[in-house]
Symmetry: C2
Subunit: 120 residues, 2 copies
């Protein structure tokens, strides 16, 4: 069996996609706002996701057929269009989250093993 991709840590893109799905379940947001939100959320962990990663992750979820998008006028006076997202296939979204749960657990386990193995 060929190994293919990395078997080490989960990819940043997968991590972001997980958040995007959860955020879609909770509220209607658009790319830029999502970026601001996540940046703020992760600040204390020194993680500063790139804006482009957010957009690319959103586009991947569109390509995966998990989300669909439509343009909406941003609330407020300046009539500027933003792209908001909703589920196209919620079941697949749930399946993805389930998959990521296992992957997160695996990664935590690996890191905790390293802590155990290398520090006393």
């Amino acid at each position: 069996m060929a190994q293919g991709k990395s078997t080490f840590m989960l990819r940043q893109r997968a991590f972001i996609k997980l958040y995007l799905i959860t955020m879609t379940e909770q509220k209607r947001l658009y790319g830029f706002k999502i970026w601001e939100t996540l940046e703020e959320e992760f600040k204390e962990f020194g993680y500063k996701p790139q804006r482009s990663e957010i957009y690319k992750s959103l586009h991947e979820l569109l390509d995966d057929g998990i989300l669909k998008s439509h343009n909406v006028e941003k609330e407020g006076t300046k009539r500027q269009e933003v792209v908001v997202y909703q589920f196209k296939n919620h079941d697949e979204a749930k399946a993805y989250k389930k998959l990521l749960k296992a992957e997160l657990d695996r990664c935590v386990g690996l890191l905790q093993k390293a802590l155990k193995d290398n520090y006393i």
Copy 2:
């Protein structure tokens, strides 16, 4: 302040280097054997490091001035040379480990936050 490199997860190379330092503290091993050992260790976590990553990590530690190497005849009948490692600068090795401790903690925290944020 420019951001530069990724602020997400620690790099595989750093993870391996941490183990290499610890292994150097404990026993005298050489590249191929280290690879076999780590492969076995991480099997249950689905992580299968590449042999080349081990060698590259060892070379990096040499370049960093943390380890030094010398050739030794492999114990046994076939006289084959292997490359074994010992500390050139143990203080720097310790400093590296300390750094990595913080990095591992940070990454675990980030992943656990994701578990908390995305699953109930």
